[in-house]
């Protein structure tokens, strides 16, 4: 037994042993390398990214590697969470360059906490025409907490229930009002119906009915009176507009009046003509008086010349002391 050759335990040989072994090795290497590459791709190692910093008061629930979504699509990953100098939480997010176009200067970021404590970071871009978000931008994140609403909701509900209880109490205003409504409806069903309900007691209702009856009688008499007034009006009509009435005579008088007016107009025209002639006479008289003025001026100048002549003679006549000129 001790003399066995060392190679004896090798079982029957396998065909193409080395090739198969090489294939298996290659397969394993391929799988391992492929897995590593796939995981690296899945982690976004090969994507060029830009950095976005979200500042929150509380980063509870946010984990490294979680997604930031836009319209439900993951467009960024949380890379780090750190505490800033002022105590706020800084959430550093890597956004692939190809997805960064969804983020704009005016984008809003929210950190929403669900009912079971799950946290989601969401981005909203209202105006896609705004300039794109720069690399390394720092934005404040709005925190929306579904559970934060619950205490308020409970308080509001409690108030509501308290009000409802107060309303439905036996001594509440609503109950009293309902009782009154019931009494009113009982009265409605009574003998005087809605009238009894309105007036409060049956006596007044009776009075009202009596008043109504008397009003009816009065209305009947008013009807008779109106008939008589109608007859009166018909008579007056005949008096005024009939063939012998006032109106035709009035019309004839008006015709006569218009004839008289035409005569008066003719007379006035003749007067006009007379006046025009008188005006022409007056014009002639004015021309004549203008000629008289000229004549007088000429006479005056002749007289002045004569006076000058006499003065001249007097100067030249040295013996004459009497310079007075006497006109004879």
């Amino acid at each position: 037994m001790n003399e066995h050759p060392p190679e004896s335990p090798v079982p029957p040989p396998v065909a193409h042993l080395e090739l198969k072994a090489a294939l298996l090795l290659a397969l394993l290497v391929l799988l391992l390398v492929g897995s590593v590459l796939y995981v690296m791709y899945a982690r976004g190692v090969f994507e060029p990214t830009q950095r976005l910093v979200l500042v929150a008061d509380d980063s509870e629930g946010v984990t490294v590697g979680m997604d930031m979504t836009f319209s439900g699509f993951p467009i960024g990953r949380v890379r780090r969470i750190e505490l800033a100098e002022d105590g706020a939480a800084r959430i550093l997010i890597d956004v692939p360059k190809k997805d960064a176009r969804w983020l704009r200067e005016s984008s809003v970021f929210t950190l929403v906490r669900g009912l079971v404590g799950n946290v989601a970071i969401r981005a909203y871009s209202g105006v896609l025409g705004d300039p794109p978000l720069p690399d390394g931008a720092v934005r404040r994140v709005l925190v929306g907490d579904a559970t934060a609403e619950i205490p308020q909701l409970v308080t509001a509900t409690r108030d509501l229930v308290r009000n409802l209880t107060a309303l439905s109490n036996a001594d509440s205003a609503l109950t009293a009002a309902l009782g009154n409504v019931q009494a009113a409806s009982e009265r409605l069903k009574g003998r005087h119906g809605a009238l009894g309900l309105l007036l409060g007691n049956d006596e007044d209702a009776k009075k009202l009915v009596a008043a109504l009856d008397r009003t009816n009688a009065l209305l009947a008499r008013v009807d008779g009176l109106a008939a008589r007034v109608d007859g009166l009006v018909a008579k007056a009509d005949v008096q005024v507009f009939g063939p012998e009435g006032v109106m035709p005579e009035t019309r004839a008088a008006i015709v006569q009046l218009s004839g008289t007016l035409a005569d008066a107009r003719n007379t006035l025209k003749q007067a006009d003509r007379l006046l025009a002639e008188a005006q022409a006479v007056a014009t002639n008289a004015k021309v004549a008086s203008a000629d008289l003025g000229t004549l007088r001026a000429e006479v005056e100048s002749s007289l002045r010349k004569v006076e000058q002549l006499v003065n001249e003679i007097n100067r030249k006549w040295p013996f004459a002391r009497d310079t007075e000129l006497k006109l004879r």
Binding site: H4, P9, V10, E18, A21, Y38, A42, G44, M66
Partner: protein, 267 residues
């Protein structure tokens, strides 16, 4: 062995057992170190040794690969279906995929592959080596100037480790594909989102722990049965056979590795 022992005798016996237990583990570690050195030295890869490695790899892994893949696919499919349907019924379907990847790819498949290889390759190899040692074939090799560690033990160990990695890789890939098909159906449209989810699960820390765990499992499965076979006492001093003791040691080791990886991942 005496049926009844006086208390001092029992104490001595316990001490001796403890010492033996530690000695056993020490030998495993020592052998592991020796084999690691051998695996890293080029002189171990002579043509004869390469042929022996090729033989063990092909004979060990190839027949198992198909069966294991089929079996793990079936179980994975059932588990994926259960997880997805349950999560959907609670309205948590966005977490179903992550959970499937974590539970199956990260935890169950490496463990299953290790157990499978331990039962199909590690333990039979250990038995074979023990038989060779009993027959004196290893001593004969040594007399011929050949190192039995390099010539008989190293190829088996490497083949065992290779089988674990291979099965885990193939089954993991198949499970990822099955998870995609179960959740999204036969459409390539959801590939981006699925890849993102997988990327979220495989964070650097998780990936590192997963890799280390798988390598340690492969090492344990291929090393411990062989070490037990080479070093354990052949005569019937212990109540259990060397094989069962190797199995217990192996499962203890796997439990430790798995626990350590869980602690690393989730604490």
């Amino acid at each position: 062995m005496a049926p009844t022992l006086s208390p001092p005798g029992a104490l001595t016996d316990m001490g001796r057992a403890l010492l033996r237990w530690f000695g056993g583990w020490w030998r495993v570690v020592h052998l592991g170190a020796q084999l690691l050195v051998l695996a890293l030295s080029p002189s171990s890869y002579t043509r004869a040794n390469r042929l022996a490695m090729a033989h063990h790899i092909v004979v060990g892994t190839a027949p198992m690969l198909l069966w294991f893949t089929l079996l793990s696919s079936l179980i994975s499919l059932v588990i994926i279906r259960i997880v997805v349907v349950t999560a959907a019924s609670y309205g948590l379907s966005q977490y179903a995929l992550q959970m499937v990847v974590r539970v199956l790819v990260l935890e169950l498949i490496p463990l299953t592959a290790a157990i499978f290889v331990a039962l199909r390759i590690g333990l039979p190899d250990g038995r074979e080596l023990a038989r060779m040692r009993l027959r004196g074939e290893l001593d004969a090799l040594r007399q011929h100037g050949l190192d039995p560690l390099a010539h008989e033990v190293l190829p088996r160990t490497l083949a065992g480790a290779f089988a674990v990695l291979m099965l885990a890789a193939v089954a993991g890939l198949v499970t990822l594909v099955l998870a995609y098909l179960t959740v999204h159906g036969f459409t390539p449209g959801a590939f981006e989102r699925y890849t993102r989810t997988v990327g979220q699960v495989f964070s650097p820390a998780v990936t590192l722990i997963f890799t280390i765990k798988t390598f340690l499992l492969a090492l344990a499965v291929s090393l411990i049965p062989v070490a037990s076979a080479i070093y354990d006492l052949p005569h019937g001093k212990a109540r259990t056979s060397a094989e069962v003791r190797a199995l217990v040691r192996l499962f203890l080791m796997m439990l430790l590795i798995e626990a350590a990886s869980l602690v690393g991942n989730y604490y």
